[in-house]
């Protein structure tokens, strides 16, 4: 399992990276492995307001659906539309396949660094 050190993580298994004030958000390697084959991603739209700790979309695997919880509050400025046709990108490259970008960030959830997140995942099994 891979936990890049340049990212922050949530306990609901999203990752976030801040690039020039924009929060880039995806799901972790641990999350994609637990989900299994991702077959559909329900994305928000550019301009939607998102709130830290609340749902901004969902990912569906063959087995189940999981909510995507936003690590930050702000406004969606980009969505990765490639995921409409290739949701499996989340399995194949979880840290390359970002899901949304959020600007005007006003608030953020409790975020873990890579070491703390890895320890958290180890506990969850």
């Amino acid at each position: 399992m891979n936990y890049p050190v340049d990212l922050k993580y949530t306990k609901s298994h999203e990752w976030v990276k801040f690039e020039d004030g924009v929060a880039v958000i995806g799901i972790s390697d641990f999350a994609q492995d637990a989900l299994g084959d991702v077959v559909f991603v329900n994305l928000p739209q550019v301009g939607d307001e998102v709130t830290a700790g609340e749902t901004f979309g969902d990912v569906e695997s063959v087995k189940a659906v999981s909510d995507l919880i936003c690590p930050v509050s702000g406004v969606v400025c980009a969505v990765n539309e490639e995921l409409d046709d290739s949701p499996e990108n989340l399995n194949e490259d979880p840290y390359g396949a970002w899901i949304i970008k959020v600007e005007n960030v006003t608030d953020e959830e409790e975020l873990l660094d890579a070491a703390a997140y890895e320890a958290f995942c180890a506990e969850e099994g």
């Binding site: 077959v39 559909f40 569906e60 063959v62 087995k63 409409d84």
Partner: protein, 389 residues
């Protein structure tokens, strides 16, 4: 909580990296590292193998075995000949299903009845209520007698390699056989739960089942977990107890004739005589208020069991099973390397609805367009089962 049971192949599943889950009290592989989509596609194109040793295997023997089975099953047991199997239901007194089952006649003097793993104990308690009236005996051989399903276009070639070229069974669905495979006695049934035009279920002593599993893998078959078993049966339009049989999302009993397979599973032949819920079942024929039908999502999304279905503003039923299922794109009679995915399932819908009615599924607050379909897969052109998209 009693401890979860394990099949003799448990260690092999774990060693192969399978994700193990609780399934009806058994610790079973839901998927192997390849994943559900890959396992599904491999079965359709090559050969999938499934550990079905968790399913309940019951031997029914004794002078009154036929009379007993005629009473507690819906099929005409007297019509079953040695070397053949038949699908049947175990009816409740009110015309629902205690379980669905397969009855095998490998020998003249006894029957093998295979029931769902999660229902085995319940079925045995149900049978015990009727057994005192009959001179016959039921023995649960689940632990001593194991089973592997071998399904898909390459199943026959792989099995004939093990049998030294001898036919495994006759050519018809539900034909049974017994063959020697490299010194081991294996019984086989031309049946399956994938809808593949060719497939067998094998029975072997529990002590030999690991040998058989490993040989099948050496010959090119791939282990397939419960996840792909579910997507394969869904694509094939086969019901699953707990979804299409049993009770609906409002906890009401689903009448047996709500399921189209009931036509093959229930017999009203004079030879069969009286059986549990016979009159109620006769009144259900083509007359249940709701029925189970295959449906497909037209808009993008994924349907799931329990979702509500509407026709306009009117609530007309529920999704009973649903997920996203992969398929191969065919050119003529040959599968290409191109694949697609679609969300399909079963719905329990008002009988008055037809394919021309527009229906929508409430997918977490959004009403997505869906359609009733005749079937999801064409099983009539061996060796491939192909998606009807």
């Amino acid at each position: 909580m009693s401890e979860r049971k394990r099949t003799p192949l448990y260690a092999a599943h774990v060693a192969a990296g399978a994700t193990m889950v609780d399934f009806g009290g058994w610790e079973m592989p839901i998927q192997y590292p390849a994943g559900i989509l890959t396992e599904h596609l491999y079965d359709r194109r090559h050969c999938g193998i499934f550990d079905v040793s968790h399913m309940g295997r019951l031997i029914v023997e004794g002078p009154d075995r036929v009379a007993f089975l005629q009473k507690v099953l819906t099929s005409n047991v007297a019509a079953l000949k040695p070397g053949r199997a038949q699908y049947c239901m175990i009816p409740t007194e009110s015309g629902g299903a205690v379980d669905d089952a397969y009855l095998y006649m490998f020998e003249e003097d006894r029957y093998l009845l295979i029931v769902n793993a999660s229902n085995t104990d319940k079925d045995l308690r149900h049978f015990a209520k009727y057994l005192p009236e009959f001179d016959c005996k039921i023995t649960n051989v689940t632990d001593s007698y194991s089973s592997i399903a071998v399904q898909g276009p390459e199943a026959e070639a792989i099995l004939k390699t093990l049998s030294g070229g001898v036919d495994i069974t006759g050519p018809r669905k539900n034909d049974l056989g017994e063959v020697q495979m490299e010194g081991h006695t294996v019984r086989a049934s031309r049946t399956g739960y994938t809808g593949d035009p060719t497939g067998w279920e094998l029975f072997i002593d529990a002590k030999d089942v690991l040998w058989l599993w490993n040989r099948l893998i050496e010959l090119g078959a791939k282990p397939t977990g419960l996840g792909a078993r579910d997507t394969l049966r869904l694509e094939a339009g086969l019901p699953l107890y707990g979804h299409e049989l049993g009770t609906d999302p409002s906890s009401a009993e689903i009448p047996i004739f709500a399921v189209s397979l009931a036509r093959f599973a229930v017999s009203f032949m004079e030879e069969k005589g009286d059986f549990i819920a016979k009159d109620i079942l006769a009144s259900q024929k083509d007359a249940t208020e709701k029925r189970i039908v295959p449906i497909a999502l037209v808009e993008r999304g994924v349907m799931r069991a329990g979702m509500d279905i509407y026709c306009g503003d009117r609530h007309v039923g529920w999704v009973t099973s649903g997920t996203m299922v992969p398929y191969y794109v065919f050119e003529g009679d040959t599968p290409t390397d191109r694949t697609g995915k679609r969300s399909i399932g079963f719905a329990y819908l008002d009988r008055t609805l037809t394919e021309s009615d527009s229906i929508a599924i409430d997918v977490r607050g959004k009403h997505l367009k869906a359609k009733m379909v005749d079937k999801h897969m064409d099983q009539s052109k061996p060796p491939y089962g192909r998606a009807i998209v």
